[in-house]
Symmetry: C2
Subunit: 220 residues, 2 copies
């Protein structure tokens, strides 16, 4: 499974420009990054939901977020993300077919969040393979195209009169549970290869500098 | 531990006015209601966070929600709750001291959500006793009064640059995890006594009627 950040080498100049404390933070973060669990957001209509999901993914160590904006552009509310969009890898697609192809190419089995009888319980989702959890538009759910590409559907167990949750809440519960299950299965916090760690380290070091101090592409 | 809904007997007239399907739904919901896990919301500023938490509690089967509105009135966004406020028991307090006294009287051990080093991990919270999880204002957190009444603080394990989550997201993850742990500990879905079940059944039957058809207090 490949993440699509570019394989830049670590740049000595940048390392010197970033404080030791920040470098330690970067090491801690990259060592906990999971590529074996991805999040897919399709046609989200509410900017605060889009923003909350990015913030949740970043905080839980989920590296790859796939965005399908075939019907609705993905516009996370700025104040709510708290900069999370910098630290996850956003794969944006105008057409669902392209997103599906990219997810399959990257080795993910896709499961759709569908709160209805017959869906697997969240607890039944497999932890032994790379999963992508897909969440659809607040009112209408996932498109038929995305649904037909899924290995299955899942639901969060519920005990109330309400049979659904806010999408950013549902995503948080599902991603937290699956990230925990995946880490337990792997027996470690993160799952990046040493090459991927190097590339992500370089990316985060660069992003830790103010934009005016970042090297332009090709200068290192 | 007492819930404070009134101990009304089941009213035959109301039962006849509610469809069989609705009655089955009510039975399913009350059998999964947990009193051994409560949620405390203090001085929430954003109506959509207040609303999302009520909806989450209802869906997860958490019956008792304690509201402290000493500094800020609790005003959940109407469209977002989807009616959840009808199906949980809201205990509203203008002063934190009163809320604390009520929580202790009801037998809860209070744990405060505080995303910092030194807090217990969510996974370390006890499942063998009634817990109340307390969440504070979005910007400033919990008041000193509430903090000093807590048995401890807890945090959600995080792997990102961000060291906090949106409060409604944090509450959802924590309540889902603790409700699951509590149900596993108890070995059953709900924990109401037969008296409490009767009272809650009567309450839900009544609330299932349109307001114009509900008996006024004292008429049954």
């Amino acid at each position: 499974m490949a993440t699509d950040f570019s394989q830049k080498g670590l740049c000595g100049t940048i390392v010197c420009m970033v404080t030791g404390e920040r470098r330690m933070k970067i090491e801690r973060v990259i060592s906990g990054r999971l590529k074996g669990l991805a999040c897919v957001c399709e046609n989200f209509e509410k900017p605060h939901n889009a923003a909350a999901i990015l913030r949740t993914c970043e905080a839980l160590g989920i590296l790859n977020v796939y965005i399908v904006e075939e019907d609705v552009p993905f516009e996370p509310a700025k104040g709510v993300t708290q900069g999370a969009e910098k630290w996850v890898i956003l794969h944006r697609f105008r057409r669902a077919e392209r997103a599906i192809a990219a997810l399959k190419e990257a080795g993910y089995e896709i499961y759709a969040a569908v709160p209805r009888e017959g869906s697997l319980s969240l607890e039944e989702l497999p932890a032994d393979r790379p999963l992508a959890l897909a969440f659809g538009a607040e009112a209408t759910g996932l498109s038929e195209k995305l649904m037909s590409a899924c290995a299955g559907t899942f639901r969060i167990p519920m005990w109330g009169f309400s049979q659904s949750l806010n999408v950013s809440v549902a995503a948080a519960i599902a991603l937290y549970h699956c990230a925990r299950a995946r880490r337990r299965y792997l027996g470690r916090e993160g799952d990046l290869s040493s090459e991927e760690l190097s590339a992500l380290r370089a990316r985060y070091l660069e992003l830790s500098l103010p934009p005016s101090q970042r090297p332009r592409d090709g200068t290192h």
